[in-house]
Amino acid sequence: VDTLILSRIQFGANISFHILFPTITIALGWVLLFFKLRFQATGEDRWMAAYRFWVKVFALSFAMGVVSGITMSFQFGTNWPGFMETVGNIAGPLLAYEVMTAFFLEAVFLGIMLFGMHKVPSWLHTTATFLVAFGTTMSAFWILVLNSWMHTPAGFEMRDGVAFATDWWAIVFNPSMPYRLTHMLIASGLTVAFLIAGLSALRWLWGDRSAEVRTTLRFGATLGAVLIPIQIYAGDMHGLNTLEHQPAKVAAMEGHWDSDKSPVPLILFALPDEEDRENDYEIAVPYVGSLILTHSLDGSIPGLDQFVTEDGEVLHPPVAKVFWSFRTMVATGMAMLVLSWAAVWLMRFGRGPEGLPKPVLYAFAGMTFSGWIATLAGWYTTEIGRQPWLIDGVLMTRDAVADVPAPMVLGTLIAYLSVYGALTAAYIGVLTYLARRQAKGEPVPTFEAPASGAAEARLVAGE
């Protein structure tokens, strides 16, 4: 095992752990703003109750996101110095704008949003909530600009092996950015939709019949049902964009070895064999691959054979990993479609959660974290699909890695993995605990010590 693969696993573990939490906070911030605005418009307590429960989830997720994000800004230097040395002139300003326009905004106003409801006027608290939501979205924007640029670099020139910016507009709005950003923001919305629906279903199953849980269960299921078709469409568009700019990735996603094979079938199951460069045990539907990718029955796409040089160097990503990550994402998305549409149908005509049979409630509970699975699988598809390039056509991953001794990387990797594993378990555990306490009608107070007399009085009046 060498430094390169260990460093890749370490960065992969890091960024995988990190994305779990922003993917929640990006959309949950807007959902909280929605709850607060609904409360202000209607005066109905259920919206405030929903805000109070979900703001706890938000605070916990936010803290997890912040600390795991700090880790990444350091790992650029500790493990991947070649990245900034080569494209620092482009990545630098993008990251700087993320820190300046997003991180500070969300971090400063988070304090007011979480703890300031009775210290500042209501409009300022609502504004703080808005700014936190806006900040998380801005953060997603800048980081996806940079990430997209790594897939479809534009607006630069190379001088002595170093990239220099020539056109910032082209850099920011690089070819894959609009697709990737849309796909990710909707993914965040879906993650939150199923998180809310899942925890609410769990509370319902535990006997919680409050107006709040009724509201959030419907809200989550409906949000999921609305977003999933849009996401499938956005995903298709993103796929076509990838086919145009990174055909090797699409060939790997489809397990498409042979360029001459046309029409392209849709492979449902296969075990891609990198040695013999073919699929074992393939089950496929003819024509459908062409239909999806070229929107015609006999279209052809470049096969993996086009991405091997004459002296045998493989310039396409590892096929099985990309192939299966992609299928995991799509399958999760299909499950989301079926479940959310079934639930919305069953709750029609104001039947509400009473219309949901137990298996549907269990399915929601089981899919509480399905957004995580789809998000991770999607990111693995696109990031592993970029290999062996770190920046497509510009910098190879192996040329950017730091010359840190392998045992040292292994040591830190094990340390990070144990911390991440334990924290993910603790996070899921605490969310379940919060839901259980809420279902029992004994919500977890945020701080156990009593507040000042005045705040206590407001609290009693408010509840």
Partner: protein
Amino acid sequence: MTMELFGDPYVWLPFTFAALMGLSILIYVVLDGFDLGVGVLFPFADGAEKDRMVSSIGPFWDANETWLVLAIGILLVAFPQAHGDILTALYLPVAVMLIGLILRGVAFEFRVKAPGSHKETWNRLFFTGSLMTSLSQGFMLGLYIMGLTWTLPHVAFACLTAVFLTVGYSFIGATWLILKTEGALQRKAVEWARGGIWGLILGVGAISAASPLVSPRIFEKWFSFPATLWLLPLPILSAALILWLWRALRSLPAPGDKGAMGPFVAAIALFTLAFAGLAYSYYPFVVPERLTIYEAASAPESLIIILVGVCFVLPTILAYTALAYMVFRGKATDLRYY
């Protein structure tokens, strides 16, 4: 072109960014210094006091840590080569610091949301994380002063600075608690501050003594006439501040809570003076004795586009940071989400 407005862009841009980075590091050390310090002091407090201590830093810690991201971000974007050099040399202490930051950051949330029986564990992790972070930052400071090379004497020195910086953080943390708390906890905080001032004296002393000894260049910068005269206010002011703190801490807490802010302000001033001394010593180097800010800087085209943003954004950040400190001014009360 505007870039030439202030002279050679290969000179003024790197200098500006070095100054910005220095400012971010200083703000980070002061702000996260006090909240890390509060974490380090955790074992000396009882249960209810711990809640109060956390609530005194709860609304601030996240924004405080963002200054670290900004500082490391500027290093990354303005001096990419130095970023790689420094961070690969500090690989292990960085990893320790990051795990420490992770543990303490999440413990803030977990300790009040996890089942009651787990609260003690998260309290311990909050302390452990704060300690790991403080120690590793002190260690990195020491190793940086020693020129980022891992030899036994250098590591020994770094271990010393690790302890001193940790005590220094707990000192500024204690002065923060004097400002933000009352009653028994405030009296305790005064005790802690009295105990911690030693760390500050030894820390500043050790670094001031060691850096000129390690580097003839730094020795030259400090002890050549007339520079010595210009620099004299630095140690004199520091000594005066320490003397003042020494006396002030003996008379606190005072009736009517008079002077509760004094020690915190004095601590900030001390940190600033020490930092100014370090900055003077190392300029123009970003990697000690190896790489100057001018050699390590990114292309002016990239720096200018960041600078434009900085000019608009930094004042805004400072303004809303001030707003947050205004909103949560006064003694810490128990925090609630609604």
